[in-house]
């Protein structure tokens, strides 16, 4: 397939490929959940093609580089399609641990810049997944133009999110026409992927904003210990897990029957950069912190008792005639039972972007959720959180974006192909 030195070849990490490939042949439905476990920066690989895009139910990797792109004004529909084809080829190579281009980082002419930037030489695939999404602006831009003849294919639910109370969004790092979510167990591999995809895109797209995440805050399997966010609490305990087929169909995947056919088997990605007021939070008494969250800080058990995975009992009375899980506790306010059973698949990451001018950590949670319909599965919960959640006092939402994530890519197809045919 490739003539240059493959990163995989160098490291001898190819064994896992066989597993992935076999799974794919056996049935695409299982394609991106069945490979080697992630977690240790190992040489595991996830198949790029499958029924659904990889990087959604896939075991959450340790690191994130998320990038949003805008299509430049001069680009045509043909340019856009050409880019998606080029990205598909490069992404498939990158997820195998191969260089972005066919020649390689050091195999080409000394007179030309290499077609791979080289910082991943010697690194394995590191469970890299690349997940692509389309923003509302691709269908109709802010000036109302239908630049690519796609306006009538826009799914009804793909709209800029409404302004939520206390939103303090920075417009230059919100929104975007396209997005790529790169997750890997090695940060250099994730950054390498975004860097090379951006390079391939120049002339058709420009990077609008990007975000690094360094510690996953959710898992999609029950065997991994639930990670902690920067408040020090376990996060994502009640996440939709990869093996919950029914719950995934109910809450994550867009059904054939609804809306635009090209999105069937896809999902909606919501990204929100949530700054935490770290220094103020750290000064809150432990008991208060636990009441804000509704769980104990140590085990993650709900305040109504039990262990981490015990269902919270919101009816249980506590001292002073108040419920033991306070009415403004985060776990209560956003709990699926408060929102008609609607659940999200969360895939957020902790981030620290250095410090702000006042010496505080510029840090928080880069929230990523995949849902079947933002109007039922995200907006009501976010609105309720903004209005009633005790944690809001310690949070500041600084960016927001929504993308429609097309279904998985079949052999000889390019990402999102059904949208253009």
């Amino acid at each position: 397939m490739t003539t240059g030195i493959s990163r995989r070849g160098l490291l001898g990490g190819g064994a896992a490929v066989g597993v992935g490939a076999a799974a794919f042949v056996a049935g695409r439905a299982t394609a991106d959940t069945s490979e080697a476990p992630s977690g240790s920066g190992g040489s595991g690989e996830h198949a790029f093609r499958g029924e659904h895009q990889a990087g959604i139910v896939t075991d959450v990797q340790d690191r994130l580089h998320f990038a949003a792109f805008d299509v430049v004004d001069t680009a045509s529909r043909e340019d856009l399609i050409a880019l998606l084809k080029a990205w598909t080829v490069a992404a498939e190579r990158l997820t195998r641990g191969e260089p972005a281009g066919e020649i390689g980082p050091v195999e080409g002419s000394t007179n030309a810049p290499p077609d791979d930037t080289g910082e991943a030489i010697g690194l394995p695939a590191s469970n890299l997944t690349l997940t692509f999404g389309f923003g509302p602006g691709l269908f109709r831009d802010a000036r109302g133009r239908d630049r690519f003849g796609l306006a009538d294919r826009r799914p009804e639910a793909l709209e800029d999110l409404p302004h939520f109370p206390f939103d303090a969004l920075d417009p230059v790092r919100s929104g975007g026409d396209l997005c790529v979510q790169a997750c890997a167990d090695d940060p250099q591999v994730a950054v390498h992927a975004i860097r090379n995809l951006a390079r391939i895109g120049f002339g058709t797209v420009g990077v609008r904003w990007s975000q690094l995440g360094f510690g996953r805050t959710s898992t999609t399997n029950t065997s991994t210990q639930t990670p902690r966010n920067l408040f020090g609490f376990k996060d994502g305990t009640a996440n939709v897990m990869a093996d919950e087929d029914e719950a995934l169909a109910e809450n994550v995947w867009v059904a054939e029957s609804e809306g635009e056919g090209w999105l069937a088997g896809g999902s909606y990605l919501i990204a929100r950069r949530i700054n935490m007021r770290i220094e103020t939070w750290d000064r809150q008494p432990l008991g208060d912190q636990e009441e804000f969250v509704g769980r104990t800080k140590g085990s993650g058990a709900p305040l109504s008792g039990g262990s981490e995975f015990t269902e919270p009992d919101f009816e249980m009375g506590g001292s002073n005639d108040q419920p033991i899980i306070p009415v403004s506790a985060h776990v209560r306010v956003v709990h699926p039972t408060m929102h008609g059973g609607a659940r999200m698949l969360r895939r957020g990451y902790n981030f620290v972007d250095g410090s702000d001018p006042l010496g505080g950590l510029d840090a928080g949670l880069f929230f990523i959720a995949y849902v079947r319909d933002p109007r039922t599965h995200f907006i009501p919960a976010q609105l309720e959180m903004a209005r009633n959640d005790a944690l809001m006092e310690y949070l500041k939402f600084t960016s927001s974006a929504i993308f429609a994530v097309p279904p998985g890519i079949a052999e000889r197809e390019y990402v999102g192909q059904a949208l253009f045919t």
Binding site: H163, P165, F166, A301, M316, S319
Partner: protein, 389 residues
């Protein structure tokens, strides 16, 4: 403005204010520490206490709820009435830790599964030891004084807020915008000094102190900051000034809400931990909105609010200081010193009766203020535990 409704301030707790706390204070090491650590197992019908006696000093009760109901645990005085320390809301199958400084004497322990009745009681003896436990007989008196003084302070500030808001509204409706602009930060000083109390009324706070972005789409904006924008429209894009009729609507609404606030404040009482938490809370307001210049986006009068928050924090601290002086004199001295250091920096920014506008501050000056806020806020976060401990 506060983001979410908190009614905790309004609950009258049926316990003595000087209750124990889930303290962070660690007992000293070795055998002594082991002797002062007591395991309690609170079941549905039993209250197993691992030892019936412990040496005087800082005692740690690790209370495990092995029952099926929420439980509470109490350390009571010999009379079985006075609560020395308590811990509430221990959910089934959870454990909480109660730390209490106890002098030699006879006590009772009590588990209260289901949170009703007298609880399952047992005798508990604290024996003489080398560790000195400071107990001031005057504590209760100091507490009552602090509570009365703080209630009087809040009532006084609220009365002044009402008076100044009345005048502000008069000027604004008369179209005397220069005078209204001059009075705006002065009147708000009285709000900011008692902000943690004022914003505890979750229905009034958003009507009076919301910024535009605090609202959801379609919600109606009212209150101080709407009028602020109308008086200082310079930073607004394509701003349409309010008509006289609109001015009247919004100004009268603000005044009416200020009156409601004042009425409600007359009914409030404050526990000692609420006063101490209020001090910390006001410094958090400084850190989150004032030192960053976000509170008064249109008028840039953030330093007035800054000073007012600090004033209120200082009064709350001063109220509990006599109690703190006996319990943790080092913390008391440190807090006094850091309040002073912050005040020195604020005084440097004074201009006449007021302050520089936020956009007249250099980044270095803002950073120095932020550092001083952090320097004060960090030890201040230990105030409540120290006062209760």
């Amino acid at each position: 403005m506060k983001r979410t409704t908190s009614l905790c301030l309004l609950l009258s707790l049926p316990v003595l204010a000087a209750c124990g706390t889930e303290s962070t204070k660690q007992p000293t090491g070795g055998d002594e520490a082991a002797a002062r650590t007591v395991a309690v197992d609170s079941g549905d019908d039993a209250c197993d206490v691992s030892t019936a006696e412990a040496p005087a000093g800082t005692l740690t009760f690790n209370v495990k709820n092995s029952g099926s109901d929420v439980t509470e645990f109490y350390l009571l005085a010999e009379d079985g009435l006075q609560i020395i320390a308590e811990i509430e809301n221990i959910g089934p199958q959870s454990t909480k830790t109660l730390t209490v400084s106890a002098p030699e004497g006879s006590y009772l322990t009590a588990c209260k599964p289901g949170m009703t009745g007298d609880g399952i009681r047992a005798d508990f003896t604290v024996t003489e030891s080398d560790e000195e436990v400071v107990v001031s007989a005057d504590d209760q008196e100091l507490i009552e004084t602090a509570q009365a003084n703080y209630a009087a302070y809040v009532e006084d500030q609220s009365a002044q807020l009402l008076e100044q808001t009345t005048e502000f509204v008069r000027l604004y409706l008369a179209g005397d915008d220069d005078a209204a602009r001059a009075l705006y930060p002065v009147a708000r000083t009285h709000w900011e000094r008692i902000e943690t109390v004022a914003e505890s009324f979750g229905d009034l706070d958003p009507k009076m102190d919301a910024r535009e972005a605090d609202l959801a789409e379609g919600e109606k904006w009212t209150g101080w900051h709407l009028i602020e924008k109308d008086l200082w429209p310079a930073r607004a894009e394509n701003y349409t000034p309010l008509t006289s009729a609109e001015r009247a609507t919004f100004a009268n609404d603000l005044l009416a809400n200020t009156q409601v606030l004042d009425d409600r404040i007359q009914e409030l009482t404050y526990t000692i931990d609420q006063i101490a938490n209020g001090s910390r809370g006001l410094l958090e307001e400084v850190a989150n909105g004032k030192v960053t210049g976000e509170e008064e986006f249109w008028s840039r009068t953030d330093l007035w609010d800054f000073q007012a928050n600090v004033d209120g924090a200082k009064v709350a601290f001063g109220g509990v200081k006599p109690i703190l002086d006996s319990k943790d004199p080092e913390l008391s001295a440190q807090l006094t010193e850091r309040f002073d250091a912050l005040q020195v920096l604020l005084d440097e920014q004074r201009v006449g009766e007021g302050f520089k506008y936020y956009d007249e501050l250099t980044p270095e000056e803002i950073k120095a203020l932020a550092d001083a806020v952090n320097a004060l806020s960090e030890p201040l976060s230990n105030l409540t535990a120290a006062v209760l401990g």
